[in-house]
């Protein structure tokens, strides 16, 4: 599978995403500079986490004007797979590829920790290797992950099964206490109506290797692979 990882000024999980797809799962990875306007030969594109443009003004607000975004939109319009993780999710929101906005965490603090998310829809190209209702442990690391949208939009994405992950307890209960940042309805990840663009705040690339003592996030990448009829090529040992 050919994966493109977009590098914005200030992206800082770009290497991590490339490492997972390339070194851990054995796929071919291409780094895409934010000024590139041609995207060819790619099966899926990752918008990685980080602080594009320092997160100044609003998270993702400046990055969405990067030249690459037009090509990315065209890629998505043609059905290409796009996954935005953390800052990538924020950029997708600002760019209008996904509905809603991110507000500051209710604590106002940056929060880095493991959270549990419940797979609300396992019939997607990003989650079909999970069970419906499965609880995944995946870390978050953000200051602006408080998802918000208007009630009409919310009703729409819920009715359409576009809410993919919700913050929950280890047992899978979606409770206010399990909500780390104040997100509406405990939303941790959503998808577009066509099912080819996913945004999620938790970082699956940080939980995809046994050496990091957590492989839950790998299920998302494996789902993407098998959506293309691929499987991981080699499971690498530690570090390698």
């Amino acid at each position: 599978m050919n994966i493109g990882v977009v590098v914005f000024p200030g992206s800082n999980c770009d290497h991590d995403c490339a490492y997972v797809f390339n070194d851990v799962l054995g796929q071919s990875v291409q780094m895409i500079w934010h000024k590139d306007t041609q995207l060819s030969g790619l099966d899926a594109i990752v918008l990685p986490g980080g602080f594009s443009y320092g997160d100044y003004l609003r998270t993702g607000a400046i990055a969405r004007f990067s030249p690459v975004m037009r090509a990315l939109k065209a890629f998505a319009d043609k059905g290409g797979l796009v996954i935005g993780i953390c800052n990538g999710f924020q950029i997708l929101l600002e760019a209008g590829l996904l509905p809603g906005v991110m507000l500051r965490n209710t604590s106002l603090n940056f929060i880095c920790k493991d959270v549990y998310v419940k797979v609300e829809n396992a019939a997607t190209r990003f989650t079909h290797r999970c069970e419906s209702g499965q609880v995944l442990k995946i870390p978050i690391a953000h200051a602006d992950g408080n998802y918000y949208t208007d009630p009409v939009t919310l009703g729409g994405i819920k009715a359409n099964a576009q809410v993919i992950f919700r913050y929950c307890t280890a047992e899978g209960n979606v409770t206010p206490a399990a909500n780390p940042n104040g997100s509406l309805d405990n939303i941790a990840g959503i998808m577009n109506a066509d099912g080819n663009v996913l945004g999620m705040m938790p970082h699956p690339e940080r939980s995809a290797e046994s050496v990091l003592s957590n492989e839950d996030g790998r299920l998302i990448f494996l789902s993407m692979l098998s959506a293309f009829g691929k499987s991981e090529i080699r499971a690498r040992p530690v570090g390698a």
Partner: protein
């Protein structure tokens, strides 16, 4: 010409920052402070002498970049 721009959260949208400040004010003893709302304030110098053109430009800046109109309102003055 200089544009003075205010970007504020729309009425009804939860303002986590405002709430946190309200809480902090309260614990500092300012118990009569309420409904704190936090917005952004921007100053932009414009190399432009035509008022109408400047106006149109600032409006576009706000719409495109400075405010997220899904949740934010903006207003500006030119001086």
């Amino acid at each position: 010409m200089k544009a003075i721009i205010h970007v504020t959260l729309k009425q009804g949208i939860l303002d986590p920052q405002g709430k946190a400040i309200e809480h902090a004010l309260d614990s500092l003893g300012f118990s009569n402070a309420a409904n704190v709302r936090v917005g952004k304030y921007l100053e932009v110098e414009l190399n432009e002498t035509d008022r109408a053109r400047a106006d149109a430009q600032v409006k576009r800046m706000c719409e495109q970049l400075l405010a997220n109109t899904v949740v934010e309102d903006y207003r500006y003055e030119l001086t």
